[in-house]
């Protein structure tokens, strides 16, 4: 019997049935008996001190059980310290926990929690809590804070140096024939998953169960346990269904711990769900930022130097900036690079990871600058990129573990019809009624982050011919649960339909939070290791079992297909179940642990090439993206259907980044002006053209056992630049700030 390769199959999502029938339960939908509702109250001022809290009206309101504030909330056991969740340990989103004293550091900072028997009563009473403040001076925007910047030693939770230098930038720029120098402004962005973050907390004696919307159940467990000062083993976190995240649930913010504290205080299970506006001030954001770049190049298009700088606001507690210089530094072979981050302290919470964190903005800067350079040189944009192709990782000088970018350019150009492109119709020659048409492209790069902790899974085969794969990761729309089945089935020699996946629970073997596009690599490594160990054990048992037709066979030669072990020399065989049943055993299992090898022999990243066609109505300022194409080389693809969906979603995020998404700071109030889905614009169905996604599979033996490089972010990375380059092609105008609004396009050149 032959079965199709289990890895790569475009099988339907394992949770599709639950999601289309309404059976899927998200974190706020668990209703333990006696559960009550907690609602946050946020600070109305951006900086200062609480001078008084009057809770009498709230406490007198019907159904109200408790009002917690800094006056009566227990102190946390330990002051949190920001560590990115990829580290696999506690994952505090900021080095700050609210409601510990009377200080206000940012608007929306939780100042009270109201608990009532129904949601409506809790929400009503939250409006009755009277907080008085003494306001202090503050800044929130780049315009206000520009004069007070400093250069941080490290950013991004300590992961990334604040400054990177190599080669002689001055000399490189001096010998350049052409220089491109641009400045870009990026509006702040918010993730806005459709499910706002929520936690349901249940205490049973000293044991705490949290139903939490998180990218990392273990991260929630470790973080909340540390804040409460209880053993992690006393905290169970369940997150079987998570309604999107995009980074907003990658770090562990205050609300799960506040839910646990509230539940402890009122001695009843508590659901604490953020409302939409609260998600803008409780789960981080992509910071407002300004980036400048100077490219030097010879007339032949050879880059001689890149100078880059970024300025952005950070919180009083942490030196956080998206590491936007990554793509600027690593996309092209350039002998000299200087990149530096400038920060200023602002009345904001610590910004955080948001899809393509750093790469999304950095790639916009380098990829639009390269388009300007190509135009200046009269050179085809792909040709310019090929001339500067980085055969080695420019940052480390090491070879790439795998690349595939040239192939992406070639296939993309062919599929998009790039050869037919008029290289310079910037006179608006291509017209269709009111619309002027243009096309553009950009490269994409996203690092393959190495995980540091052991990744574990458990595989079990039952005598009835079915199997189970278990690991603690959550599936927030990535398809993790689906690919677990496929990876385990592949290693066990079974059909994926015969494998059940259990995940989303800290009682299962530990894996790191699925962040930085590293989730699929981590869980596939764990599942592959566990299932391979189980298969080897069962085959080993068969070849030493005198009652087995495989007795005496070379275990390395035994093939397993459809759960049946076969010795190729005689063709004889039996199923796992037949062997187990003969010995009166009903199952067999193995724990697998993949220890990441570390090592620093390679530069590791995922690459892609992205293309867009736009139509622009210059009079009305409208930009419509008509076609999008992305060609990516993400290593091994575990499921073509779900991978394609993630890449497509990322590309449409790039559309949103390019044209729509902005959270505006009200400069006189120090708070977000548009914290709603009515005013923070994200793409709707009518904004989204059909999207073509192609994948080039490159073999990578370095990243993890199956060579999986991840698809969560790379789809977004180059998309906004491709769209902006297409707008230039259509109109002859450069729009360097994001989003490219209707007002900007309408404004006279």
């Amino acid at each position: 019997m032959t079965i199709p390769a289990q890895i790569g199959r475009g099988m339907d999502r394992v949770d599709a049935h639950a999601k289309v029938t309404g059976a899927a339960r998200y974190s706020a939908e668990h209703r333990p008996p006696g559960a009550v509702h907690a609602v946050l109250v946020g600070a109305r001022i951006p900086r200062g001190r609480i001078t008084g809290i009057d809770t009498s009206a709230a406490l007198a309101a019907e159904g109200v059980i408790a009002v917690l504030s800094h006056l009566n909330l227990p102190k946390v056991a330990q002051t949190p310290h920001l560590i990115p969740s990829l580290a696999g340990t506690t994952a505090h989103g900021q080095s700050f926990f609210p409601m510990q004293d009377d200080r206000i550091h940012y608007a929306g900072q939780p100042v009270a929690v109201v608990v009532a028997d129904t949601l409506e009563r809790a929400e009503y009473a939250a409006g009755l809590v009277r907080v008085s403040y003494a306001e202090e001076p503050w800044v929130t925007t780049i315009a206000q804070g520009r004069g007070d910047t400093y250069e941080p030693e490290r950013i991004f939770g300590g992961f990334v140096p604040g400054r990177i230098e190599r080669g002689d930038v001055e000399a490189g720029l001096a010998r350049a024939d052409v220089r491109i120098e641009t400045t870009h402004h990026f509006a702040a962005n918010h993730h806005n998953p459709i499910e706002p973050s929520a936690t349901t907390a249940v205490w049973e004696d000293s044991k705490l169960t949290l139903y939490d919307a998180t990218q990392g159940p273990t991260a929630t467990r470790l973080t909340v346990a540390q804040l409460l000062g209880i053993p992690p083993s006393d905290v169970r976190v369940v997150s079987e269904f998570v309604g999107g995240s995009f980074g907003s649930k990658a770090m562990i913010w205050a609300h799960p711990t506040l839910a646990a504290m509230a539940a402890q205080h009122v001695r009843a299970p508590v659901t604490l769900a953020l409302d939409r506006a609260q998600t803008f001030t409780n789960t981080g954001h992509r910071e407002e930022q300004e980036q400048t770049i100077t490219l030097g190049a010879t007339r032949d298009g050879e880059l001689t130097a890149i100078r880059y700088a970024k300025t952005s606001p950070t919180s009083p507690f942490d030196d956080w900036a998206e590491p936007s210089m990554g793509p600027v530094n690593r996309l092209y072979a350039c002998p000299a690079f200087e990149g530096v981050h400038h920060l200023f302290k602002a009345a904001t919470m610590t910004p955080t990871f948001m899809r393509a964190p750093g790469e999304g903005t950095g790639a916009f800067v380098i990829e639009t600058a390269m388009d300007e350079l190509a135009h200046e040189l009269g050179m085809d944009p792909i040709e310019l990129r090929l001339r500067n192709h980085a055969d080695l990782d420019p940052e480390s000088g090491r070879p790439w573990s795998s690349k595939g970018l040239r192939e992406c350019y070639a296939l993309g150009a062919e599929l998009f019809g790039w050869a037919d492109r008029d290289p310079a119709p910037v006179t608006g020659a291509a017209r269709e009624g009111h619309w002027v048409l243009g096309t553009g492209m950009a490269s994409a790069i996203y690092p393959v982050y190495g995980v540091v902790n052991p990744q574990r899974a458990r595989a079990r085969v039952y005598a009835d011919g079915r199997a189970v794969i278990e690991t603690g990761c959550s599936d927030f729309g990535t398809g993790a649960g689906t690919v677990l089945r496929q990876v385990a089935a592949d290693a066990l020699g079974m059909d994926a339909e015969a494998v059940t996946a259990h995940y989303g629970d800290t009682e299962l073997p530990t894996t790191v939070a699925a962040v930085g596009s590293a989730g699929a690599g981590a869980i596939s490594a764990a599942a592959h290791t566990a299932a391979t160990a189980l298969r080897e054990r069962l085959v080993g048992q068969a070849v030493t079992d005198p009652g087995s037709p495989l007795h005496g066979a070379d275990p390395a030669a035994v093939r397993v297909s459809g759960g049946r072990m076969v010795r190729p020399d005689t063709g004889a065989g039996e199923t796992y179940g037949e062997m187990l049943g003969r010995h009166m055993t009903f199952d067999a299992e193995a724990l697998g642990e993949w220890a990441p090898p570390g090592g620093d022999e390679y530069g590791m990243a995922t690459f892609g090439a992205q293309f867009a066609e736009v139509a622009v109505d210059p009079d009305l300022g409208l930009v419509r993206v008509r076609r999008m194409l992305g060609v990516f080389a993400p290593g091994r693809v575990l499921n073509h259907k779900t991978a394609r969906s993630q890449l497509m979603g990322g590309m449409l995020w790039g559309l949103g980044q390019a044209l729509l998404e902005a959270t505006h700071m009200e400069p006189d109030q120090g708070r977000w002006a548009n914290p709603s889905l009515g005013e923070y614009l994200i793409p709707v169905n009518a904004d989204a053209p059909d999207v073509r996604v192609e994948m080039i599979e490159v073999e990578d033996r370095a990243v993890n056992p199956l060579g999986v490089k991840g698809v969560g972010e790379i789809g977004q990375v180059g998309m906004a630049a491709a769209i902006a380059n297409a707008i230039f092609h259509a109109t002859g105008r450069r729009f360097r700030d994001l989003p490219i609004t209707i007002e900007a396009v309408m404004a006279p050149a």
């Binding site: 049935h17 029938t21 409506e120 499910e195 706002p196 269904f241 939409r276 969906s645």
Partner: protein
């Protein structure tokens, strides 16, 4: 694109009670809890709610019907879309008391026993979701779209599905699913 019906928009709208309010049936309502009798997915249900309680919260918090999702609670995202008397409405902007005597259908009521509605099957096959949180609302809109006759071409589907946000951005796959059901229904009609 097919011309719009006058007075209709491409997005779901809150239910407007046919009577001015339920007050004629109940006398003055509130502020205390009142009993509301309504049919949910074919079953007559009684729910006791304060008049300020939305249909969404009545379903989610009091009736154990959690497929209508709370994405914004402001009528902006469409995740709470349900059918009331066969018409798609935003349940977060609909008061439960205004649904006295009405028939409410959610995704839990789409399937016929174990047989999924063709739109549910098409969403699964076309991977028309990732996280699944907007999916019940998308499905209720997509089913209504068929009945409203707004599936003529892709542009029409896109416009009339634009009241349902999908942050995973499965939009092209959602359109494909709607096309599949439309074409399947058309083929069924020809046989």
């Amino acid at each position: 694109m097919t011309p719009r019906e006058p007075g209709r928009t491409g997005t779901a709208v809150p239910a407007v009670p046919r009577q001015a309010t339920g007050a004629e049936e109940h006398g003055d309502l509130g502020p205390g809890p009142v009993d509301v009798l309504l049919t949910v997915n074919g079953t007559l249900r009684r729910v006791t709610v304060e008049p300020r309680v939305s249909l969404l919260d009545a379903l989610r918090e009091r009736m154990g019907v959690t497929s209508p999702k709370k994405g914004c609670n402001q009528g902006a995202c469409g995740a709470c879309t349900v059918h009331v008397d066969g018409r798609r409405v935003l349940s977060c902007l609909t008061l439960a008391v205004s649904c006295q005597g009405r028939e409410v259908t959610t995704v839990e009521g789409l399937a016929d026993g174990d047989d999924l509605h063709p739109m549910q099957r098409a969403f699964a096959e076309e991977d028309a979701f990732q996280c699944g949180y907007c999916t019940p609302g998308q499905l209720m809109s997509a089913v209504a779209l068929m009945e409203e006759g707004h599936t003529g071409d892709d542009a029409e589907i896109a416009e009339w599905m634009s009241g349902n946000l999908c942050r995973c951005a499965a939009y092209p796959n959602i359109r494909q699913a709607v096309r599949n059901v439309r074409d399947g229904a058309a083929a069924e009609g020809e046989r």
